[in-house]
């Protein structure tokens, strides 16, 4: 789960990391009144989950409140990577003498957090690490020990070497900031947290000018206050939460062959087979362990899909039973009449009994995965 910049900054502030003065606006009028309150030049930052707003020309500077209002009008009417701009963060413009980068990420190979620090902020860290690896310091963190005061101090000293001139108490300030930032990263179950840039003001004090945080979806139960629609409709959010509660994954795709299968790996393999054989999948659906009721419910997803030309059902019963699932298909087909043809691949526990159930409603299940995919593709073609 990605946080908006303003959400990340609010968390920074609570953690004692300085941020610019500012507020969130939902209309040009609000932009103006915030700019009036702040006095002086302001920065306008549209709140989108897609990054690279600067490159897209979406970050604006204004010297007066009317200018801010005027510029925000054009922003509110625009979209960034399909995301409508609904909120703008209006902040005081801060004079800087330099920019740093501070990031925390997970090193998936080593299964531990890593702190990334650079005396050169404001650029993309991946690019910098590739082009000038000497300018990115990587500091692996032992989880049980955390980031110690000594670690943070030596990192802060490193920055002072690279950017001489900072008085000693500013080194302590950076040390404290790194410690707070790591505590926040852990507390919020982050996969990634960045302060980029971390500005150095004229008096060498530090200020977080931009922030990004990506939280672990699996840890949402520890942060329920942040779970709400993000760059999606209320309806899509509710649908996704419904799937999540069931332990299902659903991804809408462009094609016309629906897939109803359980297990992420096998469903992915079916998707690949369909595509390799020239078909086009309409979705990826991985249901958790399937039973009679579950298969009935899964059918509902496809119920109103006008694009569907065939539904391929894959049943590989290991812990569950073919006959139970076949009854679920029968339940559905006796209650509804889907307009598209259905191809069933079925093997496993009580296969013979399941076959009998399906035969009784005129479906001939296929045992081979490859043949069922061929069958679904030709059924979809015949439907055209």
């Amino acid at each position: 789960m990605k946080l908006y910049e303003y959400e990340a900054k609010k968390l920074f502030e609570e953690a004692g990391i300085p941020i610019p003065q500012g507020a969130l606006a939902a209309s040009p009028e609000e932009v103006r009144s915030i700019a009036e309150r702040l006095g002086g030049p302001v920065v306008l930052k549209p709140q989108t989950l897609s990054k690279q707003r600067g490159k897209a020309g979406l970050i604006g500077f204004a010297d007066s409140p009317p200018e801010a209002e005027e510029f925000s009008r054009s922003l509110f009417s625009r979209k960034h990577e399909d995301e409508p701009i609904e909120h703008i963060l209006v902040e005081e413009k801060v004079a800087l003498k330099g920019e740093l980068f501070v990031g925390l990420a997970v090193d998936y190979k080593e299964s531990r957090p890593v702190l990334l620090l650079s005396p050169q902020g404001g650029v993309e860290i991946e690019t910098l690490a590739k082009e000038q690896p000497g300018l990115v310091k990587k500091w692996p963190i032992t989880v049980s020990r955390g980031l110690s005061e000594k670690d943070a101090l030596s990192l802060a000293e490193y920055i002072r070497q690279e950017r001489p001139g900072a008085p000693a108490d500013r080194v302590t300030e950076l040390q404290r900031l790194l410690l707070s930032f790591y505590t926040l990263f852990k507390k919020m179950d982050c996969e990634l947290a960045e302060i980029n840039p971390l500005g150095i003001r004229e008096d060498f004090s530090l200020i977080a000018l931009d922030g990004a945080m990506v939280m672990d979806d699996e840890a949402q139960f520890r942060h329920t206050e942040l779970v709400r629609p993000r760059a999606q409709s209320e309806e899509a959010f509710k649908r996704d939460q419904g799937f999540k509660n069931k332990g299902w994954t659903y991804i809408q795709m462009e094609g016309d062959i629906g897939i109803l299968s359980s297990g992420a790996g096998i469903t992915m393999a079916i998707l690949d087979l369909i595509h390799l054989k020239g078909g086009k999948a309409a979705n990826f659906l991985d249901t958790a362990q399937m039973n009679r009721q579950g298969i009935f419910e899964a059918f509902q997803i496809f119920h109103n899909s006008p694009h569907l030309k065939c539904l391929l059902i894959n049943i590989f019963a290991g812990l569950n039973r073919c006959d139970d699932l076949a009854e679920g298909i029968k339940d559905y087909l006796s209650a509804y009449q889907p307009p598209f043809p259905i191809v069933v691949r079925m093997v496993g526990n009580r296969e013979k009994e399941g076959r009998e159930v399906l035969n009784s409603i005129g479906i001939q299940p296929i045992a081979s995965l490859e043949e069922s995919v061929d069958g679904a593709i030709s059924a979809a073609e015949a439907w055209k």
Binding site: K109, S111, V143, K186, E218, A264, G265, N349
Partner: protein
């Protein structure tokens, strides 16, 4: 022979009184697994399918030698349960639970590294050693048969699909491990390969990978360094999956920095592994190379 789970491996079930745990305890016992104890705070003194239940692992360890533990514990409780098992010197943990938070997993793996504990999972159906009649987890036993193939897989259902075809082709298995579908797992492919390489009962290895992460690339590096001499066969799912989306498993996502099937296949082929682009193709290759002539 097999790896990690053997006939005489004494097993503990954490969370044994839950519905799923009870059901799978019965299945594991029926297969031949030596389950000696279960744990569930507050249920000490009860029995589940004849297995004595204790209030804590410490209590269970007083009465039994415990070699391995299978955790049937909800995601929220996995960290505490795994740390408790390791504190009590259990050297093999199978964490079947899905949706374990990333930071919890990092803490568990760090403790495991420090203590020399092997962790299978999280987010796995577990493991099975058919020659040893030992199953730790919930894989459906009917598809497995003893033989010389070691299997390591990131997906449960894909394991059943491929193993059932191996079995049908007369290629039995030494040990089959579901390494787990998460972004970080306790026993990645490279570690599983090292164990299979040392096992005299394993003649060849099948890796079942998928998009995302770098586990396949790490395995390729190990093979390229000459540390795996046994033939390695590979199938990787997700060659046509959309980018930037999590495809069911937390670990199955193609990010900006890689994780594509093509990249994985290239590095594995270069290292000398035999990669099939479809399930049927990899099974054919294995039959051709390893099947009885």
């Amino acid at each position: 022979m097999s790896i990690l789970a053997f006939r005489d491996t004494q097993v503990l079930i954490q969370g044994i009184t839950g519905t799923q745990a009870r059901h799978h305890t019965e299945n594991m016992l029926a297969y031949g697994t030596r389950i000696v104890a279960g744990v569930r705070p507050g249920s000490g003194g009860e029995q589940v399918h004849g297995v004595p239940v204790y209030n804590s692992i410490e209590e269970a360890c007083r009465d039994h030698r415990i070699d391995a533990s299978v955790l049937f514990i909800p995601a929220k409780g996995v960290k505490a349960a795994a740390l408790e098992a390791m504190q009590n010197h259990i050297k093999l943990l199978v964490i079947v639970t899905e949706h374990v938070p990333l930071h919890d997993a990092m803490e568990i793996f760090e403790d495991a590294r420090n203590r020399g504990v092997v962790i299978v999972g999280p987010n796995t159906p577990g493991m099975i050693s058919p020659p040893e009649k030992a199953k730790l987890g919930f894989v459906p036993t009917m598809y497995f048969t003893p033989g010389p193939i070691g299997v390591a897989s990131r997906s449960g259902t894909l394991t059943y699909e491929l193993v059932s075809r191996l079995t049908a082709a007369g290629l039995g298995q030494s040990t089959v491990i579901g390494v787990g579908g998460d972004r970080i797992v306790g026993l990645p492919f490279a570690d599983a390969l090292r164990l299979f390489e040392k096992d005299p009962g394993t003649q060849a290895v099948l890796l079942i990978g998928e998009i995302g992460g770098a586990m396949e690339e790490e395995a390729a590096a190990l093979i390229a360094r000459g540390e795996v001499r046994k033939p390695v066969f590979v199938y990787i799912a997700g060659s046509t999956a959309p980018e930037g989306q999590r495809i069911g498993h937390a670990g199955a996502i193609i990010g900006g920095t890689g994780g594509t099937v093509q990249g994985k296949i290239e590095s594995l082929q270069k290292a000398g592994a035999q990669v099939g682009t479809t399930i049927a193709e990899v099974i054919e290759r294995m039959k051709h190379t390893l099947g009885k002539k």
